[in-house]
């Protein structure tokens, strides 16, 4: 099962690009700024959400184009008729993303019924060393793919947290009954949020536990909860910390303080002190494990932007081997073809240059 007959119109720097004759491995090479990541971003928009750059819609239409853009692809599953998936924005309604499935208008959410898309980009390279906020967003994206209700709990929790912090920041002592009302919702949505993160991390950790430590660094994951994860316990913790939180001017307990702890399994070293290449290998491992969990019978798509860069030849080989065995169609990018020699025989390859795509 794979995507084929892909077309990008007026998307980023692509006026009109077509990619057909896809394979299990698909490789895009070209200079910096050629438009390789843009192709992956276009594919990532065949899933609900804002794509792999989390970019606003207004940014996506080609600067010199008509103001709208269109992305289309056919999903083949061997036997039956291919399913045509499309997403586009019309010039006269630049803030509305439209979706079509087999020519009929559909919701963006319905794209998830057809495809499970996972990605890894260089922007995520500093995930383990950067702020905990980035890791929470990462875990939330993984959790959302497994549990659709996650987005609502996250939004509600954020809103309730802002209300509580404002109440605590007031000069006058806050109305305790009002605080009760806000904290009930913090507890309800916060516990749902924390538990979904916990389940997601545990499921990925279980999947990773079956992998060998070598040659590909294997991460051990743990959810470092920023507060009690049960609803009534979290409510109690919030009530108990009112005085302290008021002094601090913000809420000190709860899933907005969650973190993802990552340790390299073989070495027992925290990810923060691992080499760039080791960190990259662990990120890849997490991405692959999650992709398999998220697929749940759907065709999978893995978008791996410049993954070969930090890996030595041995680990690159191991990565290709694992990807070869996996069910997902793989999209890779790189500035030159050499690191991909091991898959050159089986991959569909394109050169990207100045927003045009040419089959090699």
């Amino acid at each position: 099962m794979a995507l084929d007959l892909i077309s990008l119109s007026d998307f980023r720097n692509h006026a009109h690009s077509e990619l057909s004759g896809t394979a299990h491995f698909n490789l895009l090479t070209g200079e910096n700024g050629a438009g390789k990541t843009n192709v992956l971003e276009a594919l990532s928009l065949l899933a609900p959400g804002r794509g792999l750059r989390r970019a606003p819609l207004a940014e996506l239409a080609r600067g010199e184009g008509s103001g709208g853009f269109a992305i289309g692809a056919s999903l083949r599953d061997g036997s039956g008729e291919p399913v045509r998936l499309g997403t586009f924005v019309r010039a006269d309604r630049p803030n509305r993303r439209l979706v079509q499935v087999n020519g009929a208008e559909a919701s963006a959410a319905s794209l998830a019924e057809w495809l499970a898309i996972g990605w890894l980009t260089p922007a995520m390279d500093r995930l383990f060393t950067d702020s905990a906020g980035g890791r929470r967003r990462f875990v939330d994206r993984l959790a959302l793919a497994l549990e659709p209700a996650h987005a609502r709990h996250a939004a509600r929790y954020e809103a309730a947290l802002r209300e509580r912090n404002r109440l605590l920041a007031d000069d006058a002592p806050p109305d305790p009954v009002w605080l009760d009302g806000v904290e009930r919702q913090l507890a309800e949505h916060g516990s749902a949020l924390a538990q979904a993160r916990g389940r997601t991390i545990a499921a990925i950790a279980r999947a990773l536990a079956g992998f060998p430590d070598e040659p590909f660094a294997r991460p051990a994951l743990a959810h470092a909860a920023g507060g009690p994860t049960g609803e009534s316990d979290l409510a109690a913790a919030l009530r108990d910390s009112r005085r302290r939180d008021r002094q601090a001017g913000r809420t000190l307990v709860g899933p907005h303080r969650d973190d993802l702890d990552v340790v390299m399994a073989g070495k027992g070293a925290p990810a923060t002190i691992c080499s760039t290449g080791e960190q990259k290998a662990m990120l890849i491992a997490i991405t692959l494990a999650h992709a398999e969990l998220a697929a749940r019978g759907r065709p999978g798509l893995l978008l791996l932007d410049e993954v070969a860069a930090h890996l030595d030849p041995l680990r690159r080989e191991a990565l290709f081997e694992r990807l070869r065995a996996g069910g997902a169609q793989v999209w890779l990018t790189g500035t030159e073809p050499a690191p991909f020699a091991a898959i050159a025989g089986e991959a569909a390859m394109w050169t990207v240059e100045g927003g045009t795509v040419t089959r090699r």
Binding site: E163, W178, D180
Partner: protein
């Protein structure tokens, strides 16, 4: 180019919900052509509403008499009070003719960020209505927003020590204008599925 007076009318109409400049211009043209009939009627109807419009001192509904038609209607069950955020919620619920009790309009929802505090709402008046006796049930019909639900919790807690049963719509009211477009079935379901607040 129309005169300043006609422009003024068009720009006032354009601000009405659901209208906008194009529809407003069309409405003005239509009215101008019927200045002796339709324009005259509209003017009279608006003047009458403006003169007589009052906020009901009991429930906060907006009507042309005080107490309002709902509060004055003796066929309605005074033992049951449905609490809503805004008059628009009351009107939408009442148009569906599903709730046979009386209402109480809060005049908004608690929001620390927007600076709406409990004393800015008519919560005190609601407690007073309950304390006066004769009320068995309070139905909290707040919107499904965070602020709406916080307000529902707040009121439920303030009512805790009073001899009244407090229930809440299972999922709150759909937000804002959506309520107007809800079919009766959905509203009926929301009302039937009300549950005790605990």
């Amino acid at each position: 180019m129309a005169s300043q007076e006609i422009e003024n009318l068009a720009s006032a109409l354009a601000r009405l919900p659901g209208l906008g400049p194009r529809s407003a211009r069309r409405a003005v043209l239509w009215l101008v052509k019927r200045r002796e009939t339709a324009l005259e009627q509209l003017l009279a109807a608006m003047a009458e509403v403006k003169d007589k419009l009052v906020e009901c001192p009991v429930c906060g509904n907006i009507d042309t008499r005080a107490p309002c038609g709902i509060c004055a209607d003796h066929r309605r069950d005074a033992r049951s009070i449905c609490v809503v955020e805004d008059v628009s919620d009351l009107w939408a619920l009442d148009r569906a003719k599903l709730f046979t009790g009386k209402y109480h309009v809060l005049g908004g929802r608690l929001s620390a960020l927007d600076g709406v505090r409990p004393e800015d709402l008519t919560i005190g008046a609601l407690l007073e209505r309950v304390r006066e006796g004769g009320v068995d049930e309070i139905v909290l019909a707040m919107n499904a927003t965070l602020e709406g639900q916080t307000t529902a919790h707040y009121i439920a807690e303030r009512l805790e020590d009073l001899p009244v049963r407090v229930t809440q719509l299972a999922h709150g009211l759909p937000v804002g204008g959506e309520l107007d477009y809800l079919d009766e079935g959905t509203l009926a379901q929301a009302l039937r599925a009300r549950r005790p607040v605990g």
